[in-house]
């Protein structure tokens, strides 16, 4: 039991508590004023914090100095009931007319409930509309295909000279700039430096690969000019573009799929087919 404090200390505690509550009220008023003046988040936060901190300090002082702390004991009954009590409850539950005794009926009931439980799961299938492709097929398909022109983020078709050496240009299928799995990038490399030919081929050193990391799908867009490498910002997978974008460091295991391209009769770049593999992260049915 806490020894009672002499009155002087108690009076001092009382004064501190009153001060804290007054500070709290001042903080609350301050918040209202700050809000009305539109003084910004910093002042709003500080005034509200003062209001609640004053409350906290006052209540804590009160709880520590003016009421007894500690020294009490409460009995704990334990949770193991006496055996006859358990037996009585069990007897009520398993009386002769108890439903629990009707095994056959219970089995049928269980069957019905299970059937309902399974049946109500079926509408969850509607989360994916029925008219969509099967997921593994959808994940493998992209808007790229033979004849689809390469455009930049603004939708302008690209000519080969729009991709000079030393830079990385994001390219998209014409008409599907916002598609989630279509982003690709074009770079111009020196073909004599290739240690492995690009899977999608190249047009005078101009090569296009999928932009999505084969590890977890982040856009691989950190191009280290001169090294011929791109880096994924999410998990630091590094791909060597001179070796057909094979991973050379980090957690990615597969090369970036390439995009076969050609120069169309109109002088613009266009794809001659889809990616050489499904873009982005791997999945079970990925071929």
């Amino acid at each position: 039991m806490s020894a009672r404090r002499p009155p002087a200390a108690e009076r001092a505690a009382g004064r501190r508590i009153v001060t804290a509550f007054l500070a709290s009220a001042a903080g609350a008023v301050g918040f209202a004023v700050v809000y009305a003046l539109n003084a910004g988040p910093q002042w709003e936060g500080v005034s509200l914090a003062v209001a609640f901190a004053g409350l906290a300090v006052g209540l804590a002082q009160w709880g520590r100095h003016l009421v007894p702390v500690g020294g009490y004991v409460e009995e704990h009954e334990g949770f193991t009931p006496p055996p006859d009590e358990q037996a009585m409850t069990a007897a009520v539950l398993t009386a002769p007319d108890s439903p629990i005794r009707r095994r056959g009926l219970l089995a049928a009931l269980g069957l019905a409930v299970t059937a309902i439980g399974i049946a109500v799961l079926f509408p969850l299938r509607s989360l994916l509309p029925w008219n969509r492709l099967r997921p593994a097929v959808a994940f493998s398909r992209t808007p790229w295909g033979a004849g689809v022109r390469l455009v930049d983020q603004q939708g302008r078709p690209l000519r080969p000279e729009d991709v000079p050496a030393g830079t990385l240009v994001g390219v998209f299928p014409e008409g599907s700039v916002d598609s989630g799995d279509a982003p690709a990038f074009a770079v111009r490399l020196e073909p004599q430096r290739f240690t492995r030919p690009p899977s999608g081929g190249h047009v005078g050193g101009l090569v296009v690969w999928s932009m999505l990391c084969t590890h977890a799908g982040c856009p691989v867009r950190l191009y280290l000019k001169g090294t011929g490498r791109v880096l994924c910002p999410c998990h630091q997978s590094s791909f060597d573009l001179l070796a057909d974008a094979h991973p050379i460091a980090g957690p990615a295991a597969r090369p970036l799929p390439g995009l076969p391209i050609e120069v169309g009769p109109d002088g613009f770049l266009r794809a001659t087919g889809g990616f050489t593999g499904p873009p982005g992260a791997g999945f079970w049915r990925r071929q």
Partner: protein
């Protein structure tokens, strides 16, 4: 007066006073670690309050919307409604940014407090019988907190959250057989789908919070029913709880903590910028930003994804991608282990008795070693998740760090576990009270063979008759009876937490709390030290608080009302018979 009458009216109809009297006298152990869970609880309250405010302004839709407002670099741009409304909330809604940032900080603190609470429960063995059920509920809430943190982080549709979602979708896709179906069902198509943000929203504001509220209630209900566990000390047994009472001590302290948590969160929300989505920009499938990390409580997953080597293989032609192991298996195993631990430990130790007294962490070196090892492993993963930032701060190549972390993740947990094991054994066997007092001899002994095991690991109290100087004292007080436990040798005096109507009840309660201790009837309460006169100002505050509390008013009227009823025995009211060391001061109470 009005409150008095209202309280009486309620009690006349619902007969709340017996329950209330017991509830107000509930004893909380006086140890700070018992308030870790309260930090989480109050952060959760703050999350709900600020979150509700945010829903008034947030537009959970991927539809195009034009931003018009104070943030010049976005003014006139068309992006998703979710992103536009978040930027508006941050720049154009007065107090919106404060609430949004406070909400986000509260989420970070919420999970941190949960983790601390879980760690305390684990190391002190508070999950043992009869509290396994609350352990399971707690672990589930931890999981739900992580899920809701992630959905909340993802909803604004900014560049960072889009990258995070993309990674999560990739992780789900990596699950053998069902991965693509799960991802497609959740997305309603392919990433990024128009359905995703509304689905995230309803999950974030309804599904998971509703579950959390239900589980929090259950968690607390079970806690009240089972009462608190406590650390061993003189006078504390498997059959009692020693500490302070809910009213008034813990009411004041807990409210103080609530206010303090709010104060800290609002201070953070106002002063420290968090998740500036306007700087990150809207999500575009082809854009990225570096460094890219999720919130801290997901970073361990991101770190595992970074560390796991590029190992992929095919089963009968089907691909098992690398993210499956660090992304799905690691998380799954972690939570399965958490769920299974109480049962695993019971199976290993054969300890089936209920425990109300807690272990000190040192008393179970193996449990301590496992816990420390696991925490170390996840700490390494968190640091690995920030390897790019660390590489920059330290000026070392990022792949060097990656290699280092790969080694550390495998080695450090075992080392840390071993060290924890040895220190626990040294502490348990030696005379040192704390780590600082350990001597080299203690450590040498710890490494040696185990001495004869003590009979009882669980720390059950020694039988009472062996302890002379222990007794229970009962005394009448007014029409009521009270009791206290006195241990002369241990200099411990503990008062029963509430007055009861008869001597028999007092005997019964004291026998439950201290089986086998002799009981004597004494003439009255112990001579109290002279009571301090509370200043009038203070009494005014006390009156104001009392008037504000319905339950208090209810209790204050018990005696008067009991008299009106005639045949019913007068129900003793706790507040009317003040604790033994404090004489009745009715002056300040009406």
């Amino acid at each position: 007066m009005i409150i008095d009458r209202l309280a009486r009216a309620l009690d006349d109809r619902l007969r709340l006073s017996p329950i209330t009297r017991r509830a107000l006298a509930k004893v909380f152990p006086d140890h700070w670690t018992f308030m870790l869970g309260e930090i989480a609880l109050y952060s959760f309250v703050a999350l709900i309050a600020t979150g509700v405010y945010l829903t008034f302004f947030f537009d959970a839709s991927s539809a195009d919307r034009v931003y018009r407002g104070d943030y010049a670099p976005l003014d006139g741009a068309t992006t998703s409604a979710a992103y536009v409304s978040t930027v508006q909330l941050s720049w154009d809604v007065r107090a919106g940014l404060l609430i949004r940032q406070t909400h986000h900080w509260a989420a970070l603190v919420f999970v941190a407090a949960i983790l601390l609470h879980l760690t305390r429960i684990f190391f002190t063995g508070a999950f043992r019988k009869p509290r396994e059920l609350n352990w399971l509920i707690g672990v589930t809430m931890f999981l739900l907190a992580l899920a809701n943190g992630f959905t909340g982080y993802s909803m604004p549709d900014d560049l960072l959250s889009g990258l995070g979602l993309r990674i999560l979708v990739s992780v789900v896709e990596s699950i053998p057989l069902v991965g693509t179906w799960l991802a497609a069902l959740a997305l309603g198509g392919e990433f990024p789908s128009a359905d995703l943000i509304p689905r995230l929203f309803i999950t974030h504001v309804l599904l998971v919070p509703a579950l959390l509220v239900a589980l929090v209630s259950l968690h607390l209900g079970i806690l009240v029913r089972q009462k608190h566990s406590q650390f061993p000390a003189p006078g504390r047994t498997e059959h009692n709880v020693v500490g302070s009472r809910l009213w008034p001590s813990y009411t004041l302290r807990s409210l103080a903590l609530f206010a303090w948590v709010l104060a800290v969160l609002f201070a953070l929300g106002g002063l420290v910028q968090i998740n500036p989505v306007w700087l990150y920009g809207p999500f575009e499938p082809s854009q990225s930003s570096s460094p890219a990390q999720p919130d801290w409580y997901i970073v361990w997953g991101d770190g595992a994804l970074r560390l796991f080597p590029p190992w992929e293989f095919r089963i009968a032609g089907y691909l098992v991608p690398a993210p499956f192991w660090p992304g799905v298996v690691l998380g799954g195993v972690t939570f399965l282990a958490l769920y299974a631990w109480p049962f695993f430990e019971r199976w290993r130790t054969g300890e089936h008795r209920p425990h109300q007294l807690l272990d000190r962490p040192r008393e179970h070196p193996i449990r301590l070693a496992v816990g420390v090892g696991a925490l170390t492993f996840f700490a390494v993963l968190v640091f690995a998740g920030g390897d790019d930032i660390l590489a920059r701060l330290l000026g070392v190549p990022v792949y060097d760090l990656l290699g280092l972390f790969r080694v550390l993740a495998l080695v450090l947990p075992f080392l840390a576990g071993l060290v924890a094991y040895l220190f626990a054994r040294a502490l348990r066997r030696g005379d040192a009270a704390s780590l600082g007092e350990l001597t080299r001899a203690d450590l040498r002994r710890a490494a040696g063979p185990a001495p004869v095991q003590r009979g009882d690991e669980g720390g059950l109290e020694t039988p009472a008759p062996d302890r002379p100087g222990e007794r229970i004292e009962l005394w009448p007080e007014g029409g009521l009876w009270r009791w206290r436990y006195r241990d002369e040798a241990g200099h411990v005096v503990l008062t029963g937490n509430r007055a009861v109507c008869s001597e028999e009840e007092a005997v019964e309660a004291s026998r439950l709390a201290y089986p086998g201790v002799d009981r004597v009837v004494v003439p009255g309460p112990p001579p109290p030290p002279p009571p301090g006169r509370v200043r009038t100002a203070l009494r005014r505050w006390g009156r104001a608080a009392a008037a504000g509390s319905l339950l208090v008013g209810l209790l204050l009227d018990r005696r008067r009302r009991g008299g009106d009823r005639g045949p019913q025995p007068p129900e003793p009211a706790e507040s009317d018979s003040p604790p033994a060391d404090e004489p009745a001061t009715p002056g300040g109470r009406t």
